[in-house]
Assembly symmetry: C2
Homo-oligomer: 191 residues x 2
Amino acid sequence: MTRGRLVVISGPGGVGKDTVIEALRRQRPRLAYSVSHTTRPARDYERDGEHYYFVSADQFGELLQAGEMIEHARVNGYLYGTSRGPVMEALGEGRDVILKIDVQGAEQVRRSHPDALFIFISPPDMEELLRRRRGRGSESEAQIEARQRLADEEMRWAASYDHVIVNDRVERAAENILELLEGRGAERDAS
Amino acid sequence: MTRGRLVVISGPGGVGKDTVIEALRRQRPRLAYSVSHTTRPARDYERDGEHYYFVSADQFGELLQAGEMIEHARVNGYLYGTSRGPVMEALGEGRDVILKIDVQGAEQVRRSHPDALFIFISPPDMEELLRRRRGRGSESEAQIEARQRLADEEMRWAASYDHVIVNDRVERAAENILELLEGRGAERDAS
């Protein structure tokens, strides 16, 4: 059996990574999704073990020490990381595994798994991103502005990814990613 | 007052970083030394707060979460990190600060402090390194061999440092580093 491939998906907060990944998994149920660990508190709609594994900083330290993290990063004052076990298991079953991680984490994966597929999801434009985030209504204006600065910074990393996918329509972004995974989408990057 | 400069010192385990740093501090007492945090157990001769701050993985996680670590890395199954506070204080006092850190940590400092001075200490030859480590007598043969593999790997990073100093004689290696710090040693690198 062919071993699965790691698919790294990054992009500024609010760009719609979660909805694109949902669409991807709907379109191709065999895709595995790596649930990250985080020390940040859960938002109202988030469920432990589904959106994230919500852990304490202590627990995070233990996982790091045990070598359980493929990558980890501190973003906005909280720790995020990908645990090794479930990812390796899915790869061993020949399933491709999606990692939704930030640009620092992606850099670590680039070193440990240079054969991974690195995809950056970009908003149609940054103003649109700001509107979406305000529309979400779960953040204060100060939080929104801090995240926007972070997003501007993250956008500068797009060039280091294998492919940049513009999330203008979710289903189409997901299709583009599936084509890349199947190795028949390279010439459509710029679309 | 001119702000101090970060001086990153890396090199394979057993190359004599500690003795070179001792000589440096003896020759120039105003140099500050950043004591790292680690989760590894103390060796017999090591004192807490002097060689390292010995902490638990839990405590390490809390420090990371608090953004207290300038750099951190996992080496041989243990975590190591440099805490921000004391370093920033010494730099603010116009003192140069020595960080003894591994190649992964150095890479993080390169991103956050590109103006730091990056020095790699190399053994006269790798066989010599093995002899020194066996002579130390504090490690099993299996540990020695594992560390040797790590050292071989670390040596490949030497080229990414500003300067490589060969530690043939400790006092001379320290003098070379002081010359680099004073900006009059660049042409003596290859000596």
